[in-house]
């Protein structure tokens, strides 16, 4: 779509005012822009370099996953959830598997639950490490990118050994997981946890304590508590704005209620708060993994397998806390082997919708910081 500089492009609220002033202009940011982390297109109304309004345009990676789901069996659908938020594929798998388990009324053996929780928490760390590195790079600190990826690679290696893939896992199945973890799993996790504890201190020195970094994030992109709630933001964005809500704590699933961990919250809802919340979440995930390692049980990893998964008529809902927020899965079953309707409520979509609220009044350079601290994954928004 071509943008006429005299006429406001669709989606902007304040058309008349925009036409009245001559200094304001419209600018396309994306779909090809390194700061948008994917094919996201933002149209900005700018006054000089001050952002006046932001209108996101979506759909560049829309693959109709929800429609595809109606033509795939329940088992085949699990591999499609990998492709929602590809940095939280274990947690997405878990969400769909829990919905299927609700429909079938089956449980998961103890070891299966432990495998699930450990892999999900490792992935939360992995996802936050990537976010941390990319945030640094967005703000001009390439060092952070390299350091973040160094530790991330160690976790990715664990995943590769456990399930064979590094990104699109397709590992969990209704009633457990598709395979048991190899014998090397626990020692490898122990090594990584030891390394990560030291790494978090390094990150503190490199970026958190850096005055230049703090100047560029403190007070930038403020999202008030009310706005965060009314836009339906979840995850670190909501917690950064001071609402202590975490799906693992307030609505526990799997075996999360057995573990002792804190839910960090921010003070004022600025970029630095969101940053601190994620950094603290990594430390808390390490705590959960350590507790799980101490009590890791033996036994079966999966309850009885079905040759065909037919779910009785009805609707089923499950939700998981992914690295970005709440992923809700609403499934309508009609008694056949395929879902009648499958709806994903993805966290990044709601988090993105608050962007206009956060960016107005700041500079373009601050907008990059804001996008980065929202931690958007574009395929999760478009689905």
């Amino acid at each position: 779509m071509e943008i006429n500089h005299l006429q406001a492009p669709p989606g902007f609220t304040d058309t008349a005012a925009a036409e009245a002033t001559t200094e304001e202009y419209y600018l396309n940011m994306g779909p090809q822009h390194p700061g948008t982390h994917g094919v996201l297109r933002l149209v900005l109304r700018l006054d000089g370099e001050n952002v006046q309004e932001v209108v996101p345009h979506l759909g560049y990676v829309h693959r109709a996953i929800e429609k595809m789901a109606e033509n795939q069996t329940y088992l085949q659908n699990i591999h499609l959830t990998d492709r929602l938020d590809y940095l939280s594929s274990f947690m997405n798998n878990l969400g769909l598997c829990m919905a299927i388990e609700k429909g079938l009324g089956i449980g998961v053996p103890e070891r299966g639950e432990y495998i699930r929780v450990m892999l999900c928490e490792l992935q939360r760390i992995q996802s936050h490490l990537l976010w941390w590195g990319v945030l640094g790079m967005d703000m001009g600190a390439v060092t952070a990118f390299l350091y973040g990826f160094k530790e991330r690679e160690m976790i990715t290696d664990i995943f590769e050994e456990v399930c064979g893939n590094r990104l699109t896992m397709n590992f969990f199945r209704p009633g457990g997981s598709s395979a048991d973890v190899p014998d090397t799993f626990l020692p490898r996790v122990a090594t990584v946890i030891e390394r990560l504890k030291r790494a978090l201190d390094e990150y503190q020195t490199l970026l958190t304590d850096n005055i230049i970094f703090q100047e560029r994030t403190r007070g930038i992109g403020v999202l008030s508590r009310e706005k965060a709630l009314s836009y339906g933001c979840t995850g670190p964005v909501l917690r950064g704005s001071g609402v202590q809500y975490d799906g693992r704590k307030n609505n526990p699933y799997s075996i999360y209620e057995r573990f002792d961990f804190e839910v960090p919250v921010g003070q004022g809802g600025d970029s630095f708060d969101r940053y601190l919340v994620r950094m603290e979440e990594m430390a808390q995930s390490i705590k959960i993994v350590q507790q799980a390692m101490e009590t890791f049980p033996t036994g079966p990893y999966r309850s009885k397998e079905f040759s065909k998964y037919r779910i009785p008529t009805g609707s089923y809902f499950s939700q998981v806390e992914t690295a970005r927020g709440l992923l809700g899965i609403y499934m309508v079953a009609d008694g056949t082997a395929k879902p009648y309707r499958l709806k994903y409520r993805s966290p990044s979509f709601s988090n993105l919708s608050a962007i206009n609220e956060m960016a107005v009044g700041y500079k373009i350079a601050d907008l990059i910081t804001i996008i980065s601290t929202l931690d958007l994954v574009i395929p999760d928004i478009d689905r």
Binding site: V162, L206, L223, G242, Q244
Partner: protein
């Protein structure tokens, strides 16, 4: 689902947020810093930068601590994990025989039509495998076909660097030992 108590507890915080927002938006006319504040800011910024550089410097002088991936120089010796999912291959024994019975379960399990199992009849009239077509360009490496095969006739190969210039060259006939039809 968010309880009322949680909402109440944090009203104070949102006031703090409003203050932050206001102070930020009114800062288009920034109150001038005094010279000493200005110098202090430069100094502290520089100090925190040096602290970070001390860390990177310690890695610079201790290259043994660095984990690097020597790829692609080591591609000859690179060994993948046993469960690594490269592409689907058919297991052949020394005599060049495979154990696929052309039951077609893998074809049904595949979410995206990657596999076509064409059965045929041998001289004795028994159903045997004719052509096993595998299209790597459609495969999502989901492992469902491997899990469902009752005879372990197929498994995931460990080859990587699977890119090709011609998409036709990504179609494999797996029951030919070389994988080409």
């Amino acid at each position: 689902m968010i309880e009322e108590s949680i909402i109440k507890k944090h009203t104070v915080l949102s006031e703090h947020a409003a203050e932050l927002l206001q102070s930020r938006q009114s800062s288009t006319v920034k109150p001038g810093l005094s010279l000493s504040q200005y110098l202090y800011k430069i100094g502290s910024g520089f100090y925190s930068l040096l602290k970070g550089m001390k860390l990177t410097g310690s890695y610079f002088v201790n290259p043994g601590k660095i984990v690097t991936q020597p790829y692609p120089e080591n591609r000859e010796t690179l060994k993948m994990f046993p469960r690594f999912r490269g592409r689907v291959i058919m297991v052949h024994d020394e005599d060049g025989e495979h154990s696929c019975t052309a039951c077609g379960l893998c074809e049904k399990a595949c979410p995206n039509g990657t596999i076509s199992v064409h059965a045929t009849r041998n001289i004795a009239g028994r159903k045997v495998l004719g052509r096993y077509v595998y299209r790597l360009n459609q495969c999502t490496q989901c492992n469902l076909c491997i899990e469902v095969c009752p005879f372990d006739a197929i498994r995931m190969g460990h080859d990587f660097e699977l890119a090709a210039y011609d998409r036709d060259s990504l179609i494999f006939i797996l029951n030919n030992k070389e994988g080409r039809g």
